[in-house]
Amino acid sequence: MSRPWLLSGLYFLTCVPAGAEQAAEAGIVSYNRDIRPILSDKCFACHGMDSKKRKADLRLDVLEEAVKPLKEGTPLVPGNPDASLVWQRIVSVDPEEVMPPPDSHKTLKAEEKEILRRWISQGAAYQKHWAFEPPVHRVLPDPETQPLLDQLVDARLDAANLIPLAAAERPVLIRRVSFALTGLPPSLEEREQFLGDNHPEAYERMVDRYLASPRYGEEMARHWLDVARYADTHGLHLDNERQMWAYRDWVVRAFNNNQPFDQFTVEQLAGDLLPEATQEQLIATGFNRCNVTTGEGGSIDAEQLFRYAVDRASTTAQTWLGLTVGCAACHDHKYDPVSQKEFYSFYAFFHSNADPAMDGNTLLTNPVMKIKPPDYQTKVAAFEEKRDALQAALNAKTATVGYQDPAEQNPPPEVTETEVIWFDDAFPAGAQTGVAGHPQQLVEKPAPVASGQRSLKRSGEGMAQDYYQSGAAPLEVPAGGRVFLQVYLDPQDTPEEIMIQFHTGEWLHRAWWGQDIIPFGAVGTTQRFGAGPLPETGKWVPLEVEASSMGLLPGMKISGIAFTVHGGTAYFDRLGIKGRLDPATDPSRSFTAWRKSVAGKDLPEVPAALRGWLKEGPDKERSGIELQQLRGYYLQNVCAGTAAALVAEKGALKEASKELEAYLESIPSTFIFRDLEQPRDSFVMKRGQYDQPGEKVEPGTPAVLPPLARAGTRANRLDLARWLVAPEHPLVARVTVNRFWQQVFGTGLVKSSHDFGTQGDLPSHPELLDGLALHFQKSGWNVKGLMRLMLISQTFRRTSAAPAEAWQADPDNRWLARGSRFRLDAEQLRDQALFAGGLLDLTMGGRGVNPYQPPNIWEPVAYTGSNTRNYVQSAGTGVHRRSLYTFYKRTAPAPFMINFDAPSREQACTRRERSNTPLQALQLMNDVQHFEAARALAERTLLLGGATPESRIGFACRTVLNREPTEEERVALLQFQQSRLEKYRVAPAEALKAITFGTVKPSDVLKEPELASWTLVANLLLNLDEAVTRP
């Protein structure tokens, strides 16, 4: 491509900031370019938008205010610096007078003063901040074509006296494109295909192949999920797991399907408000459920709801407006025209959230939605049909069962009493006993023993106990149960409290005697039943307590027992349960007794049709059919006497119901966003305090931006979303295009991609940003189209290898004379190593996986009760999935991610840092993930890389570096390999250790020393700067 106006030749080594240089060139001071940054930095904090912090009643951010005369003089007299109070104060030498004041720790540089003086003398013209003006085509009328992008870049290069470099070589290009679009290196096949393609558009065709890859959506999603602060845990306190990975997968699909960005926006912010919202649109609303939430006991609801709405409002503004409105939660924004009232109007869109203040520490905090697969209805119908048929069969069988109500028998049937011993001399057979405190002591006489040979002695300074909760056959609670036991308290060491506890899947049943110290169970419930004072000491005392007062009901199965003391010694013996069965009055035997026992109650487990009849009690007249239905239900579900006769049919029905339940349970759910039926009132919160409501506000948008169109009387999120993507919005397209540019080129055209306000950076190429923004809108918000436009530009294709002078002239490559070169992101580094080793499992979607992680990352920080306390490594190839699918625990994110600057996802992150640290070097050299991958690459090299060491070096270099090695490299690598081989031949045990690090078994056809030495070669290659960098 020819650029006639650019002459090849020497570099002009200047490094003057473009703004100043252009201003100097034109001689005309621009408010936006030259003045606002100075005023914003040095003056607006006290003389800007924030009315509360304004000093001397002087406002410098708007002309009308700045020219109003004050007592001391007129702040700004356009055209006359010397008559302007502002200028007088700037040049004053009096510390009482000079501005900015010394205690602000802000000073104006000489050149800043000079430019301010010139601005005033040129008439002190103000401009609206550039980002709030609509984008315009300032250079050429038609921005459709690729060369325009290059023309706009080159025009700036020309102005900066920089010469663009030539295109990089094909091996570099494919690696660059492959990483930019898929986050993975090119495969050897992809490489060969591109290098061998003689078509004039070979490059474009290669770009298109990657755009069509399903890996594209994964790479694009990764960047978006940083912004959306997506993670797999709630983020605060317990930091338990939450289930909303369907949202993550939705984002991947949206990019792969090239969903237009305006729809992408509307569905995430307001999918639930769209008419007849689809399942996909509801999943998308997960964006606003990605914020951190708490379930910490003691939290105040209003405070949490306030915080969630602030987070959602700030994240939305950050993501689409590129504005840091969060500041205005506490006060008017000091720098950008967003008042506190406007912030809370924006917040009001999100403040009627239906999700609760407390997340409950559960996997699914409402509102949630089941993600139904396409065949859901058919499957459920089939299950239901089967179940209904079995129910009919059960009904038919029930009609044949003979049953006579014992209450109607004359003479009434006999009453039977039972007694079962659960503990005497020993815990039940098989019980897996445990203790808190000293080891278990079953003592014999002369120690106190009430029954049999032994009793259980238990002492402790605080709480101490003997218990089991598994291993023994279940113990059944009989009708009319009363638990009894014998207790002997040591008179020399009397406990403050004794307790018995029963386990029925959980420890939920307790009775205690003495003082209520042991903090188990909710006070005043059957979990903590106060059975009376301590028994007399120094003798065996029988104790008895109603089973029902501990919540132990007839038929319940007990799986564990505990004997507990606090602060003393007790002996326990002969614990058991008595039962008393009177069939005529027992609800499990007598239909009438059952109806009496449930009269007046609402039984949720009973079918709705019968519920009302039961509630009315047995005295109410019932028709024959009604009675038959009630009786049928009773015989099938309650009556103990008929259970045996119906066991087969009931079993089959239960099995079928279970199948249905299991199917329903197997269907995952995801968090969705909903509003309350009745919106909450929202207020300006004074000083950002949740309990200091001020003026009431309605949902609305900042006045500096175009007006909001409302569909109803009260603006809602759908109005907001549509407002964002309306053609006249000046920010959204620019902010979005800029983030994609940053993704592709490493740095945004606006470097502060999170801040397009007055404190942010000015665009390096304003015409280009505007041109791309307009093009993006006009293209129907076509993301793949935009990515393609950037990737096929000559600007993107330039080589990044440049002479030192070029690096010096433009260290951050803001002018793009060379290709951008930067370190790969955390996920890309790990995925690349797995890919090179042929280990990468490309399965898409689903619950997050746990790859290799060093021990003690989660455990030392987590709260005892957290369900993400213990890290359990995924089985099989779960350890080799793409990094996008790594389970994201916010309070202790995966170290391989954090170490390479991945965010904790506690709040939105629009741009990752790219650090370069020794801890990263340690990870890439030593982490099992990387070392196992190196071993796998060594195997591939030995098996696929030809028979000679030279060809193998070539294979490994092509795989990792995407190029052939130089002669120097070949020699050095072979020498290194040989020297290691010698070592491992002498120490084969060491070789074995090296090649068995990880879970995948090494190939057994390769010799251990050989494989180990090549593993180190692969490890070396994967650690090269060239390998960890997008070239």
Partner: protein, 486 residues
Amino acid sequence: MNPLSEYQQLLTRRNFFGHSGLRLGGMALTYLLGRDLAGAAAPAAVHPPLPGLPHFAAKAKAVIYLHMNGGPSQLDLWDYKPGLKNHFNKDLPRSFLGERITTMTSGQTSFPVAPSKFKFAQHGQSGRWVSELLPHTAKIVDDIALVKTVHTNAINHDPACTFLMTGSEIPGKASLGSWISYGLGSAANDLPAFVALMPRFPESGNGQALFSRMWGSGFLPGRHAGVVLRSAGDPVLYLENPPGVDRSDRRAMLDVLNQFNQRSFERVGDPDIQTRISQYEMAYRLQASVPELADLSKESPATLEMYGPEVKTPGSFASSALLARRLVERGVRVVQIMHRGWDSHGDLPHQLGNQCLDTDRGTAALVQDLKQRGLLDDVLVIWGGEFGRTVYSQGTLTQENYGRDHHPRNFCMWMAGGGIKGGIVHGETDDFSYNPVADPVHINEINATMLHCLGIDHERFSLKFQGLDQRLTGVESVSVVKNLLA
């Protein structure tokens, strides 16, 4: 200064350990490889300070922050209220209760006063009242400044810990250790500037969570995040070579790696490649320096005795305390020990007793050890939790047993060493230890005072992020507590 080296110095944002030995081309390499040192200039600091810092002469060069996670009870340790005996089990006057109490106890029908069951006695020249639970700390009271009136905004663990360590209840801000690393760098060339330790804690303790944001770097460059020194597995993540790979293998590999990277640099010109070379060398050095650090075998028997028998158990509080001394000795700027289990909602006397047993001796030994070595003048030691506990009992109250809920309105912290006046007490609370009656100190003021001791003016120590001048001490104006300064 020539333009290129000046430019290279400007690159500090990009690397954790700064540009150690980053010179033009081959010279850096020869230095790094430890060959041909003759003629090479002394290396630049690995963790350079920000230009202009410290703002003024620092009293303290390092900080050891002992964080008792969960909220230790001021009433049972430091804030002696003998008069409470007369209020046993009587309802706390309702006038004391504000709106903002946690919903764990706000539903209680009564708020019975629970006097501490522990004996207090006066210690030291200063006659400080100290609970019998802290017999060792009681011996160092003349070295410490006790603040009885610290208060915070948050009522729950997560926000309170986040606030204590980052100056904000909302996650995302930089931790105090990372701020100090960012501002002052450190003199440790073979170790990180900021190290975090998480010792074991008693099983009886109610172990509230820690959060990586408590030592994270928030909006600051990631290299300022605390490096966790672990008691199990690799002391620093990924420090050990893989099985079957030894130090000579690594040396051989690094020689080739450096050579190739140097070639890349010559071909491409990216200064980041030079940084990468130096970081790989630093990694190699860390592989030697960290194990040396963790090896306590050269400590004298007298020193070990001072810390108690637990010092020999890796991961104990005592061994962490000794490691903290070794770290600051080697130039590490901030050491943060986070000990968990102080959240005694119930069974407090028993739980708190165990917590103190676990930490008291090591804490006192640390201060004494630093003092004996003349290091205490240079090292600021801070002790405290994220809030205190209520005078009223949570759950059932007896003479012998009680629990206490969270109490943010006043709690006790102490500071000792560099820049701090020993043997003083600051602030006074009312008879129920419920509100300060004199000299309240906000948690941000503790942090402002800490920064002051380090030679940093907290108001000028800011970084622009999300449109705000972010400070560790928040946006509201707070003051250094002058009374605490030596």
